[in-house]
Symmetry: C2
Subunit: 508 residues, 2 copies
């Protein structure tokens, strides 16, 4: 599909026409991932997995700089472990994969049937607080063992009824950090420190601006004392959680018996935290930056940075074009951007047109055509993913090589600025119930997904009020901003007095 000169878009439908379907089509066209024959599980294809690897590397470095060490804990959690923390079991037992047998044997119908029943069923980890807590209880005995700062990169399973690739899948990849501390203050400090690391990841690497805040009681992680969150606005104006960090108080320490001998020789419970981000972040990248031509990747985490497209129309040009192309690739690959060498794809497929559009759909930050005419001028023909597909320019080769890092930085910055502007344009202070309900009610009943965005409104602090708004509008309190200032007002739900605004939104 050569779309170079048409006003058509590479993705059908467009965001405006049907946002949820646009999302699925971008996932497909960009070759990030696909559904698998296993209900709710996805296959992350190389283009998507490279993105995850880059996110992982950047985050892992930040973790390690902050003193966190990686470890690995069992995939399976004995049923009794999950039962230890009352709210936790309530939150996670309802949707989990349960292993009950350890063998398949030929059954009566000739097929295989489960055999070798387990004495105690095992749950495939939905999160690892309880199993890691068991280790911590053995690793911690003195205040000298604290703080204990552990992270795990792993797969987890939550049996989801309605799944959507990257956003809600039965199996997903994530990291989960778990720490134990001698004091409440230190645990809280670590909870916020990790939230700040996620903020850095989101804003500086994913180019996604986030609001930083605390969850209300009803939206907390099951078993946590406080849950802190980063909330990002997607292009359908819904919120997506881009990371959470939980202050667990002594709840899990008591459930798992994590105790230590203090300097004063008393035996006391430790204070713990946990924090995580997942492959959901890939969904956030798609929805924060993608456009009607497909995926748009922020250079800092992009699966690859530059696509070189040799244009060979006559066989006699082949050698010169390929030689030039490889030389450019070599010069690019010697440079570093955000800690890794610039990655270059050489697209020497023999297809006629369409290669440029393939790379646009895949969201690569920079694409470069190289043909005999470019070589004659010692130049390259460059397109940037943050600009219109039609806006391309010839750049002297040397200049292109010399400025590539700067160009990637510009793309990165433009994506962030655009996303920030979008959030600001769609965030409003709302002070009355009527305005609030109108803001979240779709103007066009045929497009129920289009609504106002984020509302900054007063809330009385009453759970019943929060619950009613959720029931009426599917709108939840995304967070109580950490930077919210005291301000007298009236709850947008019930009209009672309130002292601060919260962020209301529909959410993924």
């Amino acid at each position: 599909m050569a779309k170079e000169d048409s006003a058509e878009t590479a993705i059908t439908p467009t965001r405006n026409q049907d946002y949820p379907e646009w999302y699925q089509q971008v996932v497909k066209a960009s070759d990030l991932a696909e559904s698998s024959p296993v209900r709710g599980c996805m296959v992350i294809k190389p283009w998507g997995y490279a993105l995850w690897e880059n996110i992982r590397t950047l985050l892992d470095n930040m973790f390690k700089e902050s003193g966190v060490k990686n470890a690995y804990f069992p995939l399976f959690i004995p049923k009794r472990f999950l039962e230890k923390e009352a709210e936790h079991v309530e939150g996670f037992a309802k949707e989990c994969a349960v292993v009950t047998h350890h063998r398949l044997e030929e059954g009566e119908d000739g097929g295989l049937a489960p055999a070798g029943p387990l004495e105690e069923p095992l749950v495939v980890r939905p999160t690892s607080e309880t199993i890691i807590g068991e280790s911590f209880s053995r690793w911690v005995s003195s205040y000298r063992d604290l703080p204990l700062l552990i992270n795990q990169w792993a797969n987890v399973v939550r049996w989801e009824m309605r799944t959507r690739i990257f956003l809600r899948t039965s199996e997903f990849l994530w990291q989960e950090g778990h720490t134990a501390h001698a004091t409440k203050e230190e645990a809280m400090e670590r909870t916020l420190q990790m939230l700040n690391i996620y903020e850095r990841l989101s804003e500086q690497c994913l180019a996604i601006p986030v609001l930083k805040g605390e969850k209300t009681a009803s939206e907390r992680f099951p078993g946590a004392v406080n849950t802190f969150t980063l909330e990002a606005m997607m292009q359908d104006r819904k919120a997506l959680q881009a990371g959470t960090s939980h202050f667990l108080g002594q709840n899990f320490a008591k459930a798992s018996d994590i105790k230590y001998q203090s300097a004063q020789e008393d035996e006391v419970y430790a204070w713990t935290t946990s924090w995580g981000v997942s492959t959901r972040l890939i969904g956030a990248i798609i929805m924060a930056h993608g456009d009607d031509d497909g995926l748009v990747l922020p250079p800092a985490v992009a699966s690859s940075h530059v696509a070189l497209i040799p244009i060979i129309k006559k066989a006699k040009d082949r050698d010169a074009v390929m030689y030039f192309t490889h030389a450019v690739a070599r010069e690019l690959r010697e440079q570093r951007y955000h800690g890794r060498y610039i990655e270059v794809e050489i697209d020497d497929r023999e297809t006629g047109g369409g290669r440029g559009w393939d790379w646009i759909k895949k969201g690569i930050p920079v694409r470069v055509e190289i043909g005999p005419r470019d070589i004659a001028h010692n130049a390259v023909f460059v397109g940037r993913r943050d600009r219109s597909p039609r806006e391309r320019e010839s750049i002297p080769r040397e200049q292109f090589i010399k400025t590539i890092v700067q160009v990637l930085d510009e793309v990165q910055k433009n994506l962030f600025d655009r996303a920030l502007r979008f959030r600001e344009e769609n965030t409003t202070q709302i002070d009355t119930r009527d305005d609030f309900y109108a803001f979240f009610t779709p103007k066009n009943p045929e497009k129920p997904e289009i609504h106002g965005g984020f509302a900054l409104s007063h809330w009385c602090g009453n759970e019943a009020c929060e619950e009613r708004i959720k029931r009426d509008l599917s709108v939840t309190i995304r967070c109580i901003s950490l930077s919210a200032e005291k301000e007298a007002g009236r709850c947008v739900g019930c009209g009672e007095e309130s002292t601060y605004r919260v962020v209301f939104a529909k959410a993924y």
Copy 2:
């Protein structure tokens, strides 16, 4: 336990006293990993996980250089997939974790019971040929889609009855590569190319010499046409498989329907391969290099390279010692060894003695004591893990910094040379049945694990003969060496004519 001046060893029992127990004690003393409350599953602790991360990074780079891309496939395999390949199901259905329910609900006794039965049981992947094959069948349609070169880093589960940490655990971490090719020749070439990459990893990074060869039919991967292996000798003279690469012919392509349109427009089945190494390699490192004082890590993959131990006996010395220590750390960390920056641990624990021995037990390649007297001479007091704990020397600081890379290289080389010498000393050509049986019969019935080592002997090619030897001696054919030369001889089992020698050994 200050052992500096005693002849005692840091690990009890020694290798000679009780090798299997020595292994468990090294795992414990080095803090690599521990058993978990989940039957057969291990917790990989930070010191062990760092080792795995380093192995992963080196291997992953080699994969990527060879054109392989990473992806991720579902943890669960529908039962019917496993049934597709007859030998495969036979090999893997017998020992797997079976998920039968997707919920836990409060049962009659108040506890949680499995609920929400699945229509089709799911198996936690023991290996992913069948589920990846399903994707490949959709990804491959033309010869232009080939070769398809995919790798996955993942956890897998094989329900093991007798487990041993790192060597045989129900859950373990590994990589599994899966490729599809247009021709038999190309698939075979890739099978051997990956075997060579494993050989490089083992010999150049793990410092473990390996024999490269092909498995006999009875030892093949279930469903493979040929299985190639690397066999390493451990210090109890048993063999350990340090990587396998399988040529799958068209077996899995037929089972999974991986077909492509050839250049001649025929629709034909692809040829596939698979290859993997696992956290078992950590077991190999322990048993190839460990000594009676604990773990000995090859510097190329060591969890960390240098331990700095500040010696502060008087409070007034603290500042000067710590300043000097941090300065040395900084100068070390600026240098690279095997592609990563030199990693330095500063052990400022307030314990009296014992810190040096802790690092010996953990196998760190170089440990350095820094006290006021060293500082006065602008020197450091250095011990190397490839030498006796008592053999330490004062080295001028500048010289130490300047030669650290060379020292790490020497340690690496010494470990390899020592392991190679050990294998050569314990490998013998054996030509008669009596000698063969004597070689593998323990001299001391109280130490059944001590026997001859590797026997290079003739084999008639008959499976019955191989089976009898296995039954009599627990000795198997580890491989038919790829470099084996034709030679007339008599089978060590039955006396029939044979044209080549094979490698016989007891094995993990």
